[in-house]
Symmetry: D2
Subunit: 364 residues, 4 copies
């Protein structure tokens, strides 16, 4: 929903997948130049793994995962798609899947696909910075890739890249708070999540909402890992932004007040008020807002909960664990970038930051 705040942010997941694959090509070239052996089959598997790593993301992924496809997350779905393709291609994706699921013996390959400095992150940070115009989030991907190396089967950055890594971590943090967790995008996403949830409730209570066949399927069907089938996968593959947005546009005429009101809010970009705080919202405050709305608009508590709610958002800029970003020192030793002398601030960035939000109608 970032386009509500940044009108230029209209790029697609398809572009991102192509971009990440392009960076993977560069990374393989850079590593080979340094003497790391990567076979042609491994090269291809890396390209396939990164091309497909996000294929399980549905439209407005986060909102969908917490409303109509609750039990299966995008990693589960990405893997399901890869397995399906693998069947159709007679095992041609075996290595790609092994790398994706971290079961390939050469661990550094998984790190290129999924780690704290993987091609996914390098592409999306730069791409999102470019399209939003938040130039502070730009990352010098070429230089970072040029400084990659492999040591003890671990992806490392050469020591001289220390400041570039620091810059990368800071840029990533900045993009989180300034773009991904922007409070206006946040409330839009929360409203979309509630719209889809409500639509499913209304449907399962017997009403028929206008919707494309693919979306209709997910409104009427409860998806669980246990009952997951190839039909679900096929229907899922048909679902995209066009199904969701055309539904929002039709639901502005829905009978159900809650559904209709949220659809109008999203379509007219006239969202709820949102307050961001360092401390959790008190129960008393929530209750007072909710009661006020119930009285004014004659709503039940359940209905009011769609418009008055709280939550938290958090971000960890850098994680100091076994998946840390490692520097390769000139003496051949590896060291967690956060522990390199003079990098006290990366250590400081290794603490999770939590913010709390409260949403309620502007008119309240």
């Amino acid at each position: 929903m970032s386009y509500i705040v940044y009108p230029g942010a209209h790029h697609t997941r398809f572009q991102h997948a192509l971009g990440a694959m392009f960076l993977m090509q560069k990374a393989v070239y850079a590593l080979r130049t340094k003497g790391i052996q990567i076979s042609e089959a491994e090269h291809e598997a890396l390209l396939v793994a990164i091309l497909l790593h996000d294929i399980g993301h549905g439209p407005f992924s986060h909102a969908m995962e917490h409303s109509i496809v609750e039990d299966v997350d995008h990693e589960y779905l990405s893997l399901a798609f890869m397995k399906k393709l693998n069947e159709e291609c007679n095992g041609a994706l075996d290595t790609a899947i092994a790398i994706f699921t971290n079961r390939y013996p050469r661990k550094f390959m998984h790190q290129l696909v999924s780690g704290q400095l993987d091609m996914d992150r390098l592409d999306y940070l730069r791409r999102d910075s470019f399209y939003t115009g938040v130039s502070e989030g730009a990352v010098n991907t070429e230089r970072l890739i040029t400084m990659l190396n492999v040591h003890d089967d671990t992806l490392v950055v050469e020591e001289k890249g220390i400041y570039s890594v620091e810059k990368f971590i800071v840029a990533r943090r900045l993009m989180y708070w300034q773009v991904y967790l922007h409070k206006t995008s946040l409330v839009a996403e929360q409203l979309l999540l509630r719209l889809l949830k409500r639509a499913k409730e209304v449907t399962q209570a017997g009403a028929t909402l206008p919707a494309t066949p693919a979306l209709q399927f997910f409104l009427t069907t409860t998806i669980t890992k246990r009952t997951f089938s190839s039909e679900v996968l096929e229907q899922f593959s048909k679902l995209d932004d066009y199904d969701i947005v055309s539904a929002i546009k039709m639901w502005v005429s829905a009978e159900d007040t809650v559904l209709r009101t949220i659809a109008k809010m999203l379509l007219n970009r006239d969202l709820l008020k949102v307050k961001l705080k360092k401390n959790p919202v008190t129960v008393a405050r929530m209750h007072s807002k909710k009661r006020a709305l119930m009285q004014r608009d004659h709503l039940s508590e359940a209905e009011a909960s769609y418009f008055v709610f709280q939550g938290e958002i958090s971000n960890l800029a850098y994680r100091m664990d076994h998946n840390a970003i490692h520097l390769l020192k000139k003496n051949g030793k590896m060291i967690d970038v956060a522990k390199a002398s003079d990098q006290l601030n990366i250590e400081a960035l290794s603490k999770t930051v939590i913010k709390y939000y409260l949403c309620y109608p502007k008119s309240l």
Copy 2:
């Protein structure tokens, strides 16, 4: 349909309208700096006129105008929207409308909104160059705007800007042939046009196609200027890309073979073959292709015409008429940029270039 060729080209008309308005602000500032009097009311009217100049463009505008809203073009619709808003705002748009329709006494203002060097072109060339990555099409809008002036109520460029104007014309030509008239986008647009035409025929023959209410309205209603009403305008305002694309997605299961086939082609990006030529396609060649398809797939000639067709595209990089781009010489005289000494090549660019195309199934 350019995103089929240039995956980054996913920007919106909304962004473009904001961008053109931003440039208009700069242009007003630049002209005032040079002593051109522009009142606050005129300034506002210029901003409104450029903000709304494209509001009558529907989704996939060109395809729609030649299929389901044949008789009313986007200029007609833009003006209709402005008049509607003007009513609602008690005449606040009077000046903006006068400028837009070139009935305002100060003619240079219309040229800022609609001319060979207007803010519309300056924004879309730069924006499209940026998003497609065709960097040769980039235009130095800041510099061009800085060199604008007004002489005898005509928008002019200062003499020293001659090479920048030339570069602008060449960049525009390049964008036409490399992006806007790219043969793959061209065939995609032609197919979409035929899809919508067919959908309307099928609907008017009695069938009911799945479609959002707004699109349904246009499939079932014939729009003419004579019967144009505020209801048509309201329905039109509800129509956007989401209606069209979600329809394409649903029509891949349509009963009608032509409709279903075209929808699949568009969805799977598996389009017709297209040949670009300097000379018109001969009747014999067309016939031979069409007959081959009729026989192979047991189609009527009318049906085959959806998949075998010809046409022409043309582009005029620069028009030498009363709307020419004028240079203001240091001696205070104006001159058509194409006639400035040493600019023989702009004169050469003032000739319309026509290319002819023939489309037919790849399998043929």
Copy 3:
């Protein structure tokens, strides 16, 4: 000397002064937009102050200040130039000088000229990042300036700019270690400093070295604040890179071995070896290197000290004192950016980092 490492870094102080003045114009415009009253006279004074703030920097400023114009630093000289101009202009620079020396009642104006977020820094960071190609050091100056404000006569950044300020501090740190304190530039500068010192010694011992008249003046004259005169100022104004570099080129044929050797090193870019360490170099290590050189090349200890020496470099990315960068919170309070919640890493960046270096001939 950065151009030895970054061949593109050939920009001039003149460009920087123009650039900083350009940013000052933007800053004044941004502050006025927010209601801060800045008179035309103050505006002009700010432009003059920033245009001239660096005018006392001689060629290869740091090397010169520690060799041939030891007792007068560039701030002293900048002020001397401004006073001279002020005399010639009958006091037209009074306000500019008051702002420059922080004696103007409105303190925020001095902060625009000289502070942790002044127009000087904003320009040089961006400019140096651009010309060296170290894109990680780029700073989004437009956005930072847009977010400036004044509160209680203190220059502040609006709260929402917190991540941009963080990015600015990190970028600045990166530029220090990667460019300004790069070990190759460092040793080049140390050698130039020693070359000039030696040239002065040799001259004062009676030899005549080829040199331009302006450089000759400084080789033969000892400059102190006490004996500082308008003649010194005039001679200083004639001195630039061309005097120094043409001297280096001529001194490769000097009789004095030390002078000749250093001149050759600089001209042929064949410098000393330099080791950077976290801990100070031990006296024993220095001695051992120096003795080795003395024996091998039959040099006195004084001579050997020109080629074997140690030192330290340090950088403080952000200073938490009364000149801190202050954020203006929405509730109207100011807060040091390092103390804003979630900014532990800026606090971490407020610790001075020291590195130690040892230089000696490569052949040793």
Copy 4:
């Protein structure tokens, strides 16, 4: 002298040589990808040839060639340097020299070094556009190089690159008129040329001017191809901008009025007035200006000729001859880009444009 107009234009010939070599690497890579065989020895020779192609350019090359080293141009000198190096390296530059002098059997290699689309031009256009800020002159070198190919031992551009080639030619023309032949740079260069000429005359008449040893050599020695020696080459190699500019600075105190006046003009950037015209300056006009100056300042006609003079500048954007830029059509045929249909304007650009200038003191 472009930095007088564009303060950012302070880049060096060293950077340009490195840049052109970098592009050559890319070109070799692109051609090999298309199956063109280029041996490692040829690759190295191409890199050496492009790295050294401009080494014979002295400081302010054009001014010097027409004043103090009249008889030997930069191509002669580049070759002399290469031969010298070749001797020192026992023939290691044989192939590079053969390519440079177009005596290598594979002609396309010479075209990469010296042709209408060589790596030299591609680098300097982009570099100069970047440093001057004249963004209209930017060339998409990556894309042009990607579209290179070799056909019949001729360097060609693939047909689809037609608009990029057009854009390149237009950009080049723009850079000529807007930067290289800018009238202020032009007059500065003409003055420098006259300064050096006068310095040589004065020296040869017996006076001794302050100058670095290398410059002194050229003031006292007449250089001809016949008497060209390795000593001349060595002295020439020592000459750079620092010799010329430090001389200008010292000559502002010269006894000779003409020399002193020109030196001051250059140092204070207070140049002559320059008029650019489409038609040649009439003899009468020249005479009238010259006589006016002679009378006012009591100068001889010879002296006055240093301050009142005329000349012409010309530029040919594209040359249609055997060295034309060829397109490789899909049918395997080559065609001069100017003759490709729809490229009438390139044909128009194949006409030499001449402009005439007259310079005289502003005060006249």
